[in-house]
Symmetry: C2
Subunit: 338 residues, 2 copies
């Protein structure tokens, strides 16, 4: 199913007022996506508010099943439940949906796409294309060039995830808790069950049988699907840290063929969308703060892991709202209209 080629497109954002939705508006503008008209949809609560796009204030409209007539591309930034409810209507109305929720990611017929990694799978879409989980998107960007060169056998990934991955309310909660602690007020936990300020916490949706959180399961499954290789073995531990934006990942990999750190750095540097920032002697490696608002995935701390014959440690940092969400979705749209 191909998108009809046009000079410009009628684009809609479902969930436009959330942190990812707002970032999508910004990325469409920044990248000069050929937008004929932009439609912003959100819940009734947010309807009537405005967002600026290309110098104009656009009014957010209530998302209903009937809004999709004449829309070419829908960027989905809602919850999984809302995406399940509305995406089929968008497709029926003739739009292509690029969905940032987890609703369709693991459906075999739905391409799960990071354009630099598996853009070729886009052509098989049937109206819905899934955008990966934020942690997975930055991970596969670092894995792909190494996998192509040396075949990755196993990945052990541990994350340091910022609160913007949970949403605006979580960012407010980190700010409010921090302010409360600094002024000797009571700390309130509303979004997260535990205090996130000056603490490290885990998502509370662990599977009672395996103990893995949904985020961990997503990383494990989505990595294999995007890399197109079910033989890659992956395990993950995900943790939320008191950082507003950008995720860090400590990544340990084992490859079939030996890769020395310098070879890995060279491969990563050549890969589109990856920047190597790795000069320990000059204190150069990426921190979450460094990459806020950046499109690239940054890789540093490339080290040989001598505990196995062909091991490497990597430190992968990306803006979870850019490559981890809005940027990747817009890149998919760009690939579709190319």
């Amino acid at each position: 199913m191909a998108l009809q080629k046009k000079k410009s497109y009628r684009v809609a954002i479902m969930g436009a007022t959330g942190v990812v939705g707002q970032e999508m508006v910004a990325v469409l503008e920044e990248r000069e996506f050929p937008v004929e008209e932009l439609f912003l949809f959100a819940s009734e609560r947010s309807a009537g508010s405005t967002l600026s796009f290309n110098g104009k204030d656009l009014v957010v409209q209530k998302l209903t099943e009937e809004v999709f007539n004449g829309i070419d591309i829908v960027l989905g930034a809602t919850s999984s439940d809302l995406s399940k409810k509305f995406s089929a209507h968008a497709v029926k109305a003739g739009a292509v949906v690029i969905d940032n929720s987890s609703a369709f990611r693991m459906e075999p017929a739905v391409p799960l796409v990071v354009p630099e990694v598996n853009g070729h799978t886009l052509k098989n879409h049937r109206g819905i294309i899934a955008n990966p989980n934020c942690s997975t998107a930055q991970l596969v960007m670092a894995l792909k060039p190494l996998h192509d060169a040396a075949r990755i056998k196993r990945v052990v990934v541990t994350t340091y995830q910022s609160v913007s991955g949970t949403g605006k309310e979580a960012m407010d909660e980190l700010m409010e808790q921090t302010r409360a602690l600094l002024t000797f007020q009571e700390v309130k936990c509303t979004v997260y069950p535990q205090q996130i300020a000056f603490n490290c916490i885990v998502n509370w949706d662990a599977d009672p049988d395996t103990g893995y959180t949904e985020e961990e399961t997503k990383i494990i499954n989505e990595t294999k699907k995007i890399m197109g290789d079910e033989a890659i073995r992956v395990t993950a531990t995900t943790t939320r840290v008191p950082v507003f934006r950008s995720h860090c990942e400590s990544v340990n990999i084992e490859t079939e063929k030996k890769l020395l750190p310098n070879e890995a750095r060279a491969l990563l540097s050549e890969f589109p969308g990856v920047i190597v920032m790795d000069d320990p002697g000059r204190k150069l490696y990426p921190t979450p703060l460094d990459v806020v608002g950046q499109d690239a995935v940054y890789v540093g701390r490339v080290r040989e892991d001598r505990s196995v014959p062909n091991g490497l440690n990597l430190w992968v940092v990306g803006d979870n709202l850019r490559k981890g969400a809005a940027l990747n979705a817009v890149q998919i749209a760009e690939a579709l209209i190319r």
Copy 2:
């Protein structure tokens, strides 16, 4: 070299005014260590200040080479350089030094001790006993019972370390930077080269050849020495997070014999000094905030890692100033006088 058994001991703390030194004073008091007299030594800058011990204010004295006459036990909480300078004088004066710095840890003749793990090595000391790096201490507490039951072949550890591991100045810096950000003031970086507030940073002492930081190298080497098994393969990635106190570790292990999560939890629960807090359905797992001031090392999120035949993931959290430093040092002293 055995410590002469007495009813009570003349104990000195070198570096008494730092965060670890002050915690040593508190731990000696709490555990009712048989102290005949406590001597507090620090740099000239801190001399003259007082610390409370058993209801009395003790005056901190300037540390010199001549202060050790008549002292039975010296607890060292100075930098490695100062320990190298003064420990030999303490030993010459007849004291046993339990040193928290890294000065002597890897010297073959110096026992590096976590009492629950390798207390038996204490008997071979020649006047100096080394206390491990904070991250290593809590790690080996979790590894030991699993190693005894199933032989650990490989460990991949990623840390989330609190700023108190760097010292009081770093705690002040996190507080000041946070306050500055919340009040729109300029952020100053004095202790760390990068902003630590709302960020994740790496120690700036990476080896230019391997890229490993000193902390990472310590974890790798000290783990093998304390576990008494050079065959255990270890790799480490250490990161500083904006948390005041307690370190978290994401630990991936591979064992020779299969251990199911329930078996691992049972083994860990039976091990002295370890508390298993692992009930995901009830949101139970340790966070740094939960374990501040706690003596035990907490283990949660015990999960089977299906990416290898015999893999486990663990989440290990400990108070870096207690088991990671002051408590372990006092426990060594307790073992010496037993």
